[in-house]
């Protein structure tokens, strides 16, 4: 019984580590630009296809493949941001943030369908050799899942270093923490928005490619996870980067543990229920201050 429970928790952590990357991306973009960019989901799929193309077609090594899966959605993210979202940001009306959210959903649909046009609706797998699961203390975990976990961890550490050591990283944290104060200190949030978009979408792309390596990729790979990503981000308070990681781990574990009582297809529903629960109990999210949530 205990082993079974521990197995669910372990699976949850593996899933949570994957979801943490796009959730970080979403949170980063929200912090700097002030709106929920729903197109992270489609950018996950872009990253997954980039990795699939680099790995299964061109035969690149895994590290270069992941780098490719970071850069392609990052660049595409900046391009779509410039083309689709920036002109609407400039209107700066009373409901710009919501307009941007609506447009980003349309953008998500557009990217998803562009991928479907190019690659078709079929599932594409990476054709990796099948490996035996590792068994430790009665727990079972796939080698690829372990590698994903480690990759996500390495990226999280690299990000933490970027945000605490570099000038750009500190500026971004300042903007996320208090936009007005950052502007007073001479940081122009608009200049940071391209960098935030690049890193955010790139993170989503890596998350998507890790997921695809473990399972497979089709045009809806990212969109299926949209609720889980948002739940993770909302759980963390939408502006807290550490909150997003913890939120993703919590959602991952909660979703897996809930499978004891619920069929696995309802994993997204647990995420939705988690959002409702958080809004009822602690509307500001678990890890952030009150700024930016209350109207």
């Amino acid at each position: 019984m205990f082993t079974e429970f521990a197995q669910y928790v372990l699976n949850g952590l593996v899933l949570g580590a994957l979801v943490a990357l796009p959730a970080l991306g979403l949170t980063l973009i929200f912090s700097v630009q002030g709106f929920v960019n729903f197109s992270v989901a489609a950018q996950m799929t872009v990253g997954a296809y980039a990795a699939w193309f680099a790995g299964a077609h061109l035969g690149w090594s895994p590290v270069v493949m992941l780098l490719f899966a970071f850069v392609v959605p990052g660049m595409l993210g900046i391009a779509t941001d410039r083309l689709a979202l920036a002109p609407i940001r400039r209107q700066s009306g009373a409901h710009t943030a919501l307009m941007l959210a609506v447009v980003s959903i349309a953008l998500n649909l557009a990217i998803e369908n562009a991928l479907r046009f190019l690659f078709g609706s079929d599932l594409n797998s990476f054709d990796l050799p099948i490996e035996r699961n590792l068994q430790v203390w009665g727990l079972s975990v796939g080698p690829q899942q372990l590698r994903n976990l480690v990759t996500a961890l390495v990226i999280a550490v690299a990000l933490a270093a970027f945000f605490s050591l570099t000038r750009w990283g500190k500026a971004m944290r300042a903007v996320a923490d208090n936009t007005d104060l950052a502007r007073l200190k001479g940081i122009e949030p608009r200049n940071l928005s391209n960098l935030a978009t690049f890193i955010g979408m790139g993170l989503a792309g890596i998350g998507g490619s890790l997921l695809a390596i473990d399972t497979s990729v089709d045009p809806s790979t990212g969109s299926r996870l949209i609720l889980i990503i948002f739940a993770a981000s909302v759980l963390g308070g939408l502006t807290s980067l550490y909150g997003a990681v913890l939120g993703a781990l919590i959602i991952g574990v909660a979703g897996e543990v809930a499978m004891i009582a619920m069929p696995p297809v309802y994993q997204s529903l647990t995420a939705f229920l988690a959002i409702l629960f958080i809004l009822l109990v602690k509307p500001t999210g678990l890890f952030a201050g009150t700024a930016g949530v209350r109207k």
Binding site: A94, V102, I105, A106, F272, L279, P283
Partner: protein
């Protein structure tokens, strides 16, 4: 050909009802409902299941609308102290979550097979005339809703809603019950989505979770934006325009050689998504722009939402 035109004409009327609902909650009161397809599906399944167990179809429609309205008001109350984004996220989650339930509770909804053989009103009695009857019924309903809403929105209630949309704090200071107004507007919107769902289910006599995917939300947002997002006439015009684009692109795609069915479908959806983005950029006020609805010199378009910078008085 006539039956095809009647079919898409009726569907256009259902889109118009959805668009009218969005105009009330989004255009007039400023609340985004990203899960409108969820309320639409709720109305459809509620009415279908009720009539399956012998309830009259009219009762099914009312029940579907009432259930959708109740849930809409519930979400409104839940997010009452939060920024608008949260209502959008919750409704989006509701739409997706409901689709999962529709897909997986096979004992109730038939899963991905859907429910077929939904009862149609007076179908046996009318025979050949039935499509004409339903077409007329749907458009009479649209006309009725437009009439009632235009009365309501030009009354003090409508002015108060627009005040809430433009600046909640000002409306509250002026003594308006902001929460109550928001709940009413969002509830009316959700009720219309639910009603449209019931109308849809008994028209096509078949529903499945595929009918209630997120694409429909985008279509309705496109319709409302194209028509002018605060205007009732714009909603009707926009849904006719979207239906025309949707159906004509079906024929246009056949002229492009060498495309598979999947590619044609994805190209059409891509085009509609891009159309929404372009319209929002170039003409956010739509074909029918804002009409003499604002009081005083306050200009909603130049005010900043975050209330970071105070709006200078003009």
């Amino acid at each position: 050909m006539t039956s095809y035109l009647l079919f898409i004409g009726t569907i256009a009327a259902i889109y118009a009802l959805l668009s009218l609902g969005l105009v009330v909650s989004w255009g007039q009161a400023g609340m985004v409902n990203l899960g409108l397809v969820g309320f639409f599906g709720l109305g459809a399944y509620c009415s279908t299941l009720l009539t399956k167990f012998g309830a009259p179809i009219g009762l099914g429609w009312v029940a579907g609308a009432a259930l959708a309205a109740a849930i809409g008001v519930g979400f409104c109350l839940l997010t009452r102290t939060l920024r608008g984004d949260y209502l959008a996220i919750v409704t989006l989650g509701f739409g997706e979550g409901l689709r999962l339930v529709e897909l997986n509770e096979r004992w109730l909804t038939g899963g991905s097979d859907g429910i077929s053989g939904i009862r149609a009103p007076f179908k046996d009695a009318l025979g050949e005339l039935y499509p004409w009857f339903y077409f007329a019924l749907a458009w009479i309903l649209v006309a009725l809703v437009v009439w009632v809403l235009s009365r309501a929105l030009s009354s003090p209630f409508g002015r108060a809603l627009r005040a809430v949309r433009d600046d909640e704090k000002v409306a509250a200071v002026a003594g308006k019950d902001v929460l109550r107004l928001k709940c009413q507007a969002f509830g009316i919107g959700a009720a219309l989505f639910g009603l449209a769902g019931g109308l849809y289910a008994h028209f096509t006599s078949y529903i499945s979770p595929d009918n209630f995917a997120v694409q429909l939300t985008i279509y309705i947002f496109l319709a409302v934006t194209a028509g002018g997002y605060s205007r009732l006439v714009g909603a009707v015009f926009g849904s006719l325009a979207v239906m025309t684009i949707l159906e004509s692109s079906r024929f246009a795609a056949e002229f492009i050689p060498g495309l598979s069915a999947v590619q044609i479908a994805s190209l059409r959806e891509f085009a509609l998504a891009v159309a929404l983005i372009v319209i929002m950029q170039l003409r956010p006020q739509g074909v029918f722009g804002l009409r003499n609805e604002r009081a005083g010199s306050f200009d909603a378009d130049t005010a900043t939402s975050a209330a970071v910078v105070p709006v200078p008085s003009k």
